[in-house]
């Protein structure tokens, strides 16, 4: 963004830009209004087709892109006082990558959904919501100002709410949906206040204006910039499920599995990372905030990984692993490894979507069963699912040459430069990740089947509409890492080179922060070897426990050791929040209504009424009929009026 933003050079680009979000929106409208009339085949065609078309157009924009960002102005949205908010889209390196990710992975998951949801009565509604989600997410990444980003930001929250509670007959699912929306809203309010502060400080909410002005600042840690970045980060904590606002994400697994893959793994939850990278100038100017982000990210990564160690629900394990991996990405942001964080966003989108869809395939085959204690030996029945799931597991564990290895290795190397203690904790997380992911794999696909006979007879490989997306994502998880080869292998880091212009203003503001302090090759090799070794040890450990010794996690009823119990119950965080926030709030509101509204305000009001009646009843006795008394009262009144007249003057 060194060059000034140009308007779109030709009208094709403007039209394309408009079409990208418009197509999914149309898909939403058609499927939403016709969800009970249209046949399923047409619904899935519209649903998938609109996203595919958006993906193809994004590809065209990507290949036409000449390195100069541009904006597409659609109309003046809000124009009040000094506030000018245009409704316009911005195309630059970052939004292009996000476009490809959202529409690409989105399309694959749409195709998968057509198979996964084929027996569901709410098929049309489901595709309508998915398209609405894609639309909102595209708005989020395309918006050229913070308010438009916020529209998308809350819009994806709405879709997340609707899709988590998709099966709305089940009360816990509805609770999960409500919780997701409300916890996200806490974050959103922080984001909103951040936008207000931006407007007051820079007099604009448009990226171009703000970043250009911020590029002129050189003093780091100005209080107002720190406040802005902190407030915006509160929004990211909600949306990207960081401590202490992460609790909604594991519950969000109540939604259908494609939703977990699309919204709660690949795209929406990375919006917080997108936002920080988009605002990199501001964050670079606020190292204090960056330190805070690094600590939160690392704490989240470690914390969620420990919970993941003992979960027995296939989707819950993946959910905690998502929280943990998001923590990694924030850790990277915190040490200013913006590109590495984006790299991990991409590879994580591939392998985590793959793992979720694989889990969906397993759940589909198991007739809805999600407890890994009832699974086992599934690799014989679900060969494609097994192979692809294995690839995903290897990728997340950081085994070369799968995608996760490159991004995680690069990320950890940057953390190592920043702080060796943080790196050690990162490595610990990496160890736990490899362990619980292989625990999940072994318990699900190895050993003997532990479910009921009925489930055993039902076991089958999923249809092609589900396995083909798995294969595509498996390929991406295998080769996706090559867009960012480490420096020891290649001087040409494709992703980093591509993204580098978006850090122009940050580089201009704080040049020192971008001075490359490259690790020497020996250290780099050493770090790589250590992280691979750690993963391999974890895998072997998991193999020994769950394959050789054939141990299966204990039944719900068995007595656990206190520590184990604490972790198994997710540190009782939900219970603590309930006791500290939810219940007091309910008490307060009922208390206010009972004691203030009905006990204080209303009695005073009614008291006036009663007072008047009582007064009238008693004043009646003044009407005595005695002229002398009337004259006396008159004189008194006149005196009073004169007196009042005197005061007012």
């Amino acid at each position: 963004m060194q060059t000034d933003l140009l308007p779109a050079t030709n009208s094709d680009m403007a039209l394309f830009c408009l079409l990208i979000p418009l197509l999914p929106l149309l898909g939403f409208l058609i499927n939403g209004l016709g969800n009970r009339v249209l046949p399923k085949s047409l619904i899935s065609l519209i649903g998938c087709g609109s996203v595919l078309a958006a993906f193809i157009i994004s590809l065209i924009l990507f290949f036409q892109f000449d390195g100069r960002p541009y904006v597409v102005d659609l109309f003046d949205w809000i124009n009040v006082g000094s506030l000018r908010i245009p409704f316009s889209f911005m195309i630059d390196q970052l939004s292009l990558i996000m476009l490809l990710l959202v529409t690409g992975v989105g399309f694959v998951i749409h195709v998968y959904s057509a198979g996964y949801m084929s027996h569901d009565a709410g098929f049309g509604k489901f595709f309508a919501f998915l398209n609405l989600f894609i639309f909102s997410m595209l708005l989020l990444v395309l918006g050229s100002n913070y308010v438009m980003m916020f529209i998308g930001w809350e819009g994806v929250g709405l879709c997340s709410y609707l899709l988590i509670g998709f099966w709305n007959k089940v009360t816990p699912y509805n609770n999960a949906a409500k919780k997701a929306f409300i916890v996200n809203r806490i974050g959103d309010l922080g984001f909103l206040l951040g936008i207000f502060l931006l407007f007051i400080t820079f007099g604009s909410v448009t990226f171009a204006d703000i970043f250009q002005q911020a590029g002129q600042l050189h003093d780091v840690n100005q209080p107002v910039i720190v406040a802005i970045t902190m407030l915006l980060f509160v929004g990211a904590m909600g949306k990207s499920a960081q401590l202490p606002l992460y609790t909604w994400l594991p519950d969000a697994m109540a939604g259908p599995t494609p939703v977990s893959a699309l919204i709660h793994a690949a795209t929406m939850v990375t919006a917080g990372i997108y936002m920080v990278i988009r605002s990199n100038v501001l964050y670079t100017l606020a190292p204090a905030t960056l330190d805070f982000i690094a600590i939160i990210g690392l704490a989240t990564a470690v914390f969620a990984a420990t919970i993941g160690l003992f979960q027995n629900d296939i989707k819950k394990v993946l959910a905690y692993s998502t929280v943990s991996q998001l923590g990694y990405m924030f850790l990277a942001l915190g040490v200013m490894a913006y590109t590495s964080s984006m790299f991990h966003v991409l590879t994580h989108a591939f392998f985590k979507a793959l793992l979720f869809l694989g889990a969906g395939s397993v759940i589909h085959a198991m007739s809805g069963e999600q407890d890994i204690r009832s699974m086992g030996g599934l690799r014989k029945y679900l060969p494609v699912t097994f192979i692809t799931f294995l690839i995903g597991t290897l990728a997340i564990s950081g085994i070369p040459p799968f995608a996760g290895f490159f991004s995680k290795d690069e990320l950890l190397a940057q953390v190592y430069e920043h702080s060796k203690i943080m790196w050690a904790f990162g490595l610990l997380t990496s160890f736990m990740t490899a362990f619980y992911m292989f625990r999940l794999l072994f318990l699900t696909f190895f050993g003997t089947f532990r479910g009921t006979d009925k489930q055993r007879h039902h076991l089958h490989e999923s249809p092609a509409s589900m396995t083909i997306p798995l294969i595509i994502l498996a390929i991406l998880s295998t080769v996706g890492g090559f867009m960012g080869l480490p420096a020891v292998f290649s001087e040409n880091h494709i992703l980093s080179n591509f993204l580098s212009p978006i850090f122009g203003y940050a580089r201009q503001a704080v040049p020192s922060a971008f001075e490359a302090a490259h690790l020497d090759h020996a250290t780099e090799y050493m770090l790589m070897a250590i992280s691979v070794a750690v993963a391999v040890v974890a895998i072997i450990l998991a193999y020994v426990i769950y394959v050789s010794k054939k141990s299966v996690p204990a039944d719900e009823r068995t007595e656990l050791s206190p520590l184990h119990k604490l972790v198994y119950n997710k540190y009782y965080i939900d219970e603590i929040y309930n006791a500290l926030i939810v219940r007091p709030l309910m008490w307060l509101s009922t208390g206010l209504y009972r004691f203030v509204e009905k006990g204080l305000v209303d009695p005073i009001v009614n008291g006036f009424g009663k007072g008047v009646i009582l007064g009238g009843r008693n004043l009646r006795f003044l009407q005595t009929g005695a002229i002398g008394f009337y004259l006396f009262a008159m004189v008194l009144s006149i005196a009073l009026i004169l007196f009042l007249n005197f005061i007012i003057r």
Binding site: T171, I182, L585, Y593
Partner: protein, 565 residues
């Protein structure tokens, strides 16, 4: 179309006369007359909206009609002059449009009324005409007349067609608003004795020929002479004209509300007291915590269409009064009490939302959410920033649409089951899917989701309140920060209600009378909810449709308040 504003006011009143002449049993005819009258009103208000010229600057009252109505020569006290003076500017425009829209929706909603149809529709139209009159009057006396006139039909509409505790609710509503009106009346008289009409005075003092427009120089000359004391007594023409009252130069020297006379009562400047009286008068109508308790009772007892009118239009008269009269006439007091006004605004936002969270009755929940949302109007106004005041006005319009939807929604449930208790229903989404979709739209619109009109309003208000300390120096930042809590609580009570009533396994309390069948929406109900939903979306996606029309005048309003503080 010189008489368009008068037509807007008198079409419904004319329809009242027609209805009174119709035989009692000719119910279809009565309903059709009412529908026709309100539809005509809607068409005229849409035409007015499109014909309104937003580029016109400087206190641009348009479509003005000004006639002498009552003239009384009080000899040495001057001339008493009450005018039939109507006009429209950016501040009233959106309210007129809203009145046109909601009146028709209310008639459609009234279609199922079965008790004393003739009386009902006559009172309904009387109410609509009075509300329209309130929004168009530029003479304080005329405004007050319409303001009082709303009270009477409302009292009977709640007291006769209401629920079981209708008499308590009606009398509570009546007394509350009557107290408000009394406070307004006191200040109105004070203003009348203090303000004069420079143009009419010029004519009376033979400084200008009668029957022609009096030039600005002559007006200034008259103002100068009155200020100097050379024009006094009998030659001064007192006025109720609101535009005249908005200029400090139009106050007689030494009069009680002249800003220079600095009169005090109990050590408080009289003008500040007058501001407070007027403010409380309109705040009761808005309503503002702690003078809000008539609202939940009135809503719970009122029949659905009357609740719709109450929430969508009558509350707005309170906010409109602040915009039209209180702030421009007492700008220095408005600035002085900005903190206080902002504080009660935030109090209303949070307190209303907290009470809504505790409600077991859906209609009461929505009533308290109205209290909460009207708090944003106060907060925006108190900020005295362009964003805040435009947002406050936008909130009035947007809340008018959204609350109409919400009350129709409770009506839909009540019509089928005779109950509105949240706990009596579960899983309504199963039997009423289309209805549920519209409920989701209304709830999310009300909790301020981007894309709906409520978001624009609340965004602008909060931004205005947040930037106020830097721009106009009125409100501290923490007020805006606390107010955002209202958005969070809004999400909580709406989503909780949504979940309890519409999600889960389908179940309706078996003891509800007649074992209600919860069927999906009828055509008539679609006809009310769908247009409202579309409007809420349109004004959420394209706010400039409204903002471009209203903001020049609101900015002018703001400037004049800030200059004269």
């Amino acid at each position: 179309m010189d008489y368009i504003l008068s037509s807007l006011i008198f079409i419904p009143l004319l329809a009242v006369l027609i209805i009174l002449c119709l035989p009692k049993h000719f119910t279809q005819g009565i309903k059709l007359v009412a529908l026709l009258a309100t539809s005509l009103q809607l068409i005229l208000s849409v035409w007015l909206y499109s014909a309104f010229d937003a580029s016109a600057t400087v206190q641009g009252y348009q479509f003005v009609q000004q006639l002498n109505w009552i003239s009384l020569n009080l000899q040495s006290l001057g001339l008493l002059q009450i005018q039939y003076f109507v006009g429209v500017d950016g501040i009233s425009l959106s309210m007129v449009l809203l009145t046109g829209l909601i009146s028709v929706i209310g008639i459609i909603s009234s279609w199922t009324i079965s008790k004393n149809i003739k009386g009902y529709f006559a009172l309904y139209l009387l109410l609509v005409g009075s509300v329209m009159g309130c929004f168009l009057a530029l003479d304080f006396f005329l405004f007050y007349l319409f303001f009082e006139f709303m009270l009477l039909p409302m009292y009977f509409l709640i007291g006769i067609w209401g629920g079981p505790r209708r008499e308590y609710a009606a009398i509570k509503f009546f007394i509350y608003t009557l107290i408000g009106s009394l406070l307004i009346l006191i200040v109105m008289i004070g203003l009348y004795t203090s303000a004069f009409d420079p143009a009419a005075t010029a004519v009376r003092a033979n400084l200008a020929p009668a029957g022609q427009v009096v030039s600005a120089e002559v007006v200034a000359e008259v103002q100068r002479q009155v200020a100097a004391g050379t024009l006094t007594g009998a030659s001064i023409v007192h006025t109720f004209s609101i535009p005249d009252m908005q200029q400090a130069a139009n106050f007689i020297p030494g009069s009680i509300l002249n800003i220079l006379s600095e009169k005090q009562l109990w050590d408080i400047p009289v003008r500040y007291l007058a501001f407070l009286l007027l403010f409380i008068g309109f705040a009761i109508k808005l309503p503002v915590v702690p003078v809000h308790t008539w609202l939940p009772d009135a809503h719970v007892e009122a029949p659905t269409p009357i609740s719709v009118l109450l929430a969508s239009l009558l509350l707005k008269v309170g906010g409109y009064g602040l915009f039209r009269i209180v702030y421009p006439v007492f700008p220095e007091a408005a600035a002085y009490y900005a903190y206080f006004v902002g504080l009660v605004g935030v109090l209303s936002i949070i307190y209303g939302a907290m009470c809504a969270l505790a409600m077991a009755d859906l209609k009461k929940l929505i009533a308290y959410s109205s209290v909460s949302h009207m708090g944003f109007v106060l907060l925006g106004l108190a900020s005295l920033t362009s964003e805040g005041t435009n947002g406050a006005m936008y909130q009035m319009f947007s809340h008018g649409l959204i609350s109409a939807m919400l009350f129709i929604i409770t009506g839909v449930i009540y019509d089928r089951s005779g109950s509105r208790m949240i706990d009596n229903f579960r899983g309504l989404a199963f039997s009423m899917p289309a209805f549920t979709a519209l409920v989701v739209v209304a709830f999310f619109a009300s909790l301020g989701l981007p894309g709906f009109s409520g978001f624009i309003a609340e965004l602008l208000v909060l931004l205005g309140a947040f930037s106020s300390s830097a721009v106009s120096g009125m409100l501290p930042r923490w007020l805006a920060i606390v107010a955002t809590g209202g958005l969070l609580l809004g999400a909580a009570y709406y989503l909780w209600a949504l979940q309890r009533m519409f999600f889960g396994k389908h179940w309706v309390h078996p003891e509800l009378k007649g074992e209600p069948v919860m069927t999906d929406l009828t055509k008539r109900e679609y006809l009310m909810l769908v247009p409202l939903a579309i409007l809420v979306l349109i004004f959420g996606l394209f706010p400039s449709l409204l903002l471009n029309k209203i903001s020049p005048d609101i900015n002018y309003f703001l400037q004049s308040v800030l200059q004269n503080r």
